[in-house]
């Protein structure tokens, strides 16, 4: 299965959340690969602590492959290549976790028929090899989005399940932006229709993920003044209404990731060690990643009303 991760605005935690989801999914026993399709800024290596690819790889990454300079992009096994001790060595029962980085110094590039064909070839091959392929697209309407929309519209990709995750923070601006990215003019659905997608099917394969969410009723807010909490609760209700109007409400949402202090300061994978032994990250955050990783492939979670 292919999962495209996108967001309208930067700073939503798209990369860090989808990396963590890939990590959790592989801990659950699936073979997972993570493709850094954020061509303007290929830095996925940092999150996985793979030093050789922290700003893209020098040994032929996705840029080189898609532009036809090499025949195979580099694939890095996180369990052996990561510099973080807690990530090295695959835990028993875990599946593969493979990173496909972009090129070091690579940038955005225009999409043409050949690029799309190469993209299709890669996605089909990886889909056979892995249970889950997570493609991290860049923020906003990008060439990468165009490319995967064009690729998935082709008849030979019909058999491959493709799903979309749109990440947004829980604020007015982000809700409006996320809704615009999907339903708006030149949005994903509109662009998909131009490439020949069935609008309804495409719409059903898109879900939203709220990131860095602060629950106004949580105990962590005990330090706030009562008037601040009262205001927050009303804001939250207001946002819910807005989300519902913009079709970003609960019925189209796949997960909620709470605000976590660790992720605020550093984009990284949260290991069980961070939660239980060092106690620097919150368990709720990991639970949210875990449940999101499961729901990605649960058909019941993708049913509409």
């Amino acid at each position: 299965m292919l999962v495209f991760a996108t967001s309208d605005k930067g700073g939503t935690g798209r990369s860090v959340t989808s990396s963590n989801v890939a990590y959790r999914r592989s801990l659950q026993g699936s073979d997972v690969c993570y493709l850094d399709f954020d061509f303007g800024s290929p830095t996925a290596g940092t999150i996985f602590n793979v030093d050789s690819a922290s700003r893209g790889t020098t040994e032929g990454g996705l840029h080189s492959y898609l532009q036809g300079r090499i025949s195979e992009p580099q694939m890095l096994d996180v369990w052996t290549q990561s510099d973080r001790p807690s990530l090295r060595h695959r835990p028993p029962g875990a599946g593969r976790l493979v990173l496909l980085p972009g090129d070091s110094g690579g940038g955005e590039f225009a999409v043409n028929h050949e690029v799309v064909q190469r993209c299709i070839r890669l996605m089909r091959r990886l889909d056979e090899e892995f249970d889950l392929c997570l493609l991290d697209l860049s923020a906003g309407r990008s060439y990468a989005t165009e490319m995967v929309l064009a690729a998935t519209a082709e008849p030979e990709m019909r058999a491959v399940t493709a799903r979309w995750l749109v990440f947004h923070r829980w604020t007015r601006q982000h809700i409006i932006a996320a809704s615009g990215l999907v339903y708006g003019e030149r949005g994903i659905i509109e662009a998909g229709r131009v490439w020949g997608h069935n609008q309804q099917e495409l719409m059903d394969s898109i879900r939203f993920v709220r990131t860095a969410v602060v629950d106004p009723n949580s105990v962590e807010l005990a330090g706030l003044r009562p008037s601040q909490v009262a205001w927050l609760r009303d804001c939250n209700r207001d946002l819910q209404e807005l989300a519902s109007q913009r079709k970003v409400g609960r019925t189209t949402m796949l997960g909620v990731i709470p605000l976590d202090p660790v992720l605020q300061w550093r984009e990284q994978l949260i290991s069980d060690n961070d939660v239980y032994a060092r106690q620097i990250a919150n368990r709720e955050t990991v639970d949210a990643f875990d449940s999101l990783a499961k729901r990605l492939t649960e058909d019941a979670a993708w049913e509409t009303l």
Binding site: N217, Q240, E241, A243, S244, G249, R250, T251, E303, T304, L305
Partner: protein, 614 residues
């Protein structure tokens, strides 16, 4: 109010979901077994709040509140809950439809006999009951309204089909229930010299007038009612109307316990199944009259009109029912307040025309009167009198006072008030009876309603205090364990003299408590009462504060250092806020103005010292 309707409703929802949904199946029945009334009551425990309280809505999964959804976790997540409800409601509608497609309104396991050994025949248990008509009207309206909103959220064809099917079923049941109500309305005409006539005169005659005079006055007071009765042309009750012209006749109107004997058929478009023959004695029962009035009121509520829940045929039937509703309302409140010096209602206990007397009947008459007060925005003087009656009834019902060892009032709570259903032995078998024990919730509901109408803060405060006491009483009657945990009813929790009722929930009782909670929730959500005196006082305070503040600015304090400037800015904001809320919340304006005055006073006091050099 101490009863906190939101928290209580959430608790009832949790308990209802827990005891009704097990392993993906819905458990019907409860203490009195499954029947068309009990099952509707069980569903209404969920549907009444879901359609009557804004924050308990379930029909828009995107807008469902987190805590509300959490209470129903047993039924699924916010998206599954409405789907689950649709399936259970469909199951209900299908359970109570005959093989020939006729909706069934039978009393079944709610029927009682004098001798428990003497079981009713199957023809008897299948008899339709007004209670079921009324519950079905409420449930069908709640269902249709729920579906109207939920449908707009749907895209999937299969769920839409389920929703459409349920709406058709509910609409058919609604029409059938309305026809049932039209065919069980009765006008009972009797001679002024008959037993009933003498009883009515005795009830009405509170100042010892000669009976002849009372009869004449009664006829005059009821002139409008009897004139309008002539407009009653469809359904039952029309046949007796010509007798009203005789000056020696008096009458009663209201609902019998089931379809009246010889009730004519109602012409109706569309298929509503067979209209069965009635057996019920064509004379009104106070209990069923109150139940019918409550159900019918939902037909012309604001919600029904705004959502357009009735089709054309149903609107025609609703108009016919509304005439009867108005008449009955007017009739009973005329009798209840016949003598302005001392209302017959205040002469507790009420005695019915078949010479039964009970505090419960007083409560029922009060219930009708309260509905009348609601519909005509009564004055505080009348409300005050009804309020006193309610207080007296709470006392006599041993809710606000402790019972004696062998107190006859306890029987009213458990086993309940019993009355014979005359005519029920017509199809053969023993005479059936009906037992009702809803004294406390009915009293609570009316107390809250009267409190909501009161414009006088003192009266409202007193009634709400009484509502809290009744609520404490109800709280102690909750089941403490078993499948019905946190639901009702366990009278032994409060009356040591009563045997335990087991641990199964009584949906009859629980539904009535839920109605009270919904009424209370809607009262709390309204703007608070405004005391004129307080508004005036707050206004005066504000004027003084405003003036002193302006003088402070004139003295140049606005250009002072940050400490003083901040304090004046806060004062300015408080004054503006106080002006904004003055008309809605004078108490709040009062406090804000006092704060400003205190602040300004500190400045003034500090300055005074400057001149006291020595």
């Amino acid at each position: 109010m101490r009863m906190q309707p939101r928290q209580q409703l959430l608790e009832v929802w949790r308990a209802t979901a827990r005891s009704s949904a097990k392993n993906g199946k819905w458990i019907w029945g409860g203490r009195d077994g499954a029947n068309s009334i009990s099952d509707a009551e069980q569903l209404l425990c969920l549907m009444t709040p879901a359609t009557g309280v804004e924050s308990f809505k379930l029909d828009q999964p995107n807008a469902t509140e987190e805590h509300v959804a959490a209470a129903l976790r047993n039924l699924g997540d916010p998206m599954e809950i409405p789907q689950r409800l649709v399936r259970v409601l469909t199951e209900y509608m299908e359970r109570y439809t005959d093989t020939d497609g006729t909706p069934v309104f039978s009393g079944d396991t709610y029927f009682r006999t004098a001798d428990p050994e003497d079981e009713p025949t199957s023809a008897q248990t299948a008899l339709d009951v007004v209670d079921s008509f009324a519950m079905s009207v409420t449930l069908a309206l709640a269902t249709i309204g729920f579906l109207r909103v939920f449908r707009s959220e749907l895209r999937r064809e299969d769920i839409r089909r389920e929703v459409d099917k349920l709406e058709t079923l509910a609409s058919k049941r609604l029409t059938a229930a309305m026809i049932g109500l039209l065919r069980s309305f009765t006008v009972y005409v009797f001679d002024a010299d008959s037993r009933e006539g003498r009883a009515l005169v005795r009830t009405a005659n509170q100042s010892g007038l000669p009976p002849r005079q009372v009869v004449e006055r009664l006829r005059r007071a009821l002139r409008q009612v009897s004139a309008t009765l002539r407009e009653v042309t469809i359904g039952s009750g029309a046949a007796q109307v010509p007798d009203l012209d005789n000056p020696n006749r008096l009458f009663e109107c209201g609902w019998s316990w089931g379809i009246a004997k010889d009730a004519p058929l109602v012409d109706v478009l569309g298929d509503v199944g067979v209209q069965r023959d009635g057996v019920a004695q064509p004379a009104p029962y106070l209990y069923f009259t109150v139940v019918a009035l409550d159900g019918i009121a939902a037909l012309f509520s604001e919600r029904t009109r705004i959502l357009g829940l009735l089709n054309e045929e149903q609107q025609r039937l609703a108009r016919a029912l509304q005439i009867r509703w108005d008449l009955t309302q007017q009739y009973w409140s005329t009798i209840a307040s016949f003598d302005p010096v001392r209302w017959p209602l205040e002469d507790i206990p009420w005695r019915t025309n078949d010479e039964l007397e009970n505090d419960y009947f007083s409560l029922l008459v009060t219930a009708v009167t309260v509905q009348d007060l609601v519909s005509r925005q009564a004055s505080d003087v009348e409300l005050e009198r009804v309020g006193r009656v309610l207080e007296e009834l709470a006392n006599r019902g041993r809710i606000t006072r402790r019972p004696l060892g062998t107190d006859s009032a306890i029987a009213m709570h458990s086993p309940g008030v019993r009355f014979d259903l005359l005519g029920s032995d017509d199809p053969g078998g023993p005479q059936l009876a009906w037992v009702v024990s809803d004294f406390s919730p009915l009293l609570l509901k009316r107390t809250i309603q009267v409190a909501g109408l009161a414009r006088d803060t003192e009266l409202r405060g007193r009634l709400l205090a009484q509502a809290d006491v009744i609520w404490d009483h109800l709280e102690r009657r909750r089941l403490k364990s078993g499948p019905g945990h946190a639901l009702w009813d366990q009278p032994s929790g409060i009356f040591a003299q009563v045997d335990s009722h087991g641990d199964q929930p009584s949906w009859y009782y629980t539904e009535r408590v839920v109605e009270c909670l919904v009424t209370a929730a809607n009262l709390v959500s309204r703007a608070p009462l405004r005391s004129e005196m307080l508004t005036e006082l707050a206004g005066e305070l504000l004027n003084e504060a405003d003036h002193l503040f302006d003088r402070e600015l004139l003295g140049g304090a606005g250009e002072a250092g940050p400490a003083l400037r901040n304090s004046l800015q806060t004062a300015r904001a408080s004054l503006r806020r106080a002006r904004d809320v003055l008309s809605d919340r004078p108490g709040t304006a009062f406090v804000l103005a006092s704060d400003v005055l205190r602040e300004l006073e500190q400045l003034a006091a500090a300055r005074q010292d400057v001149f006291e050099v020595e």
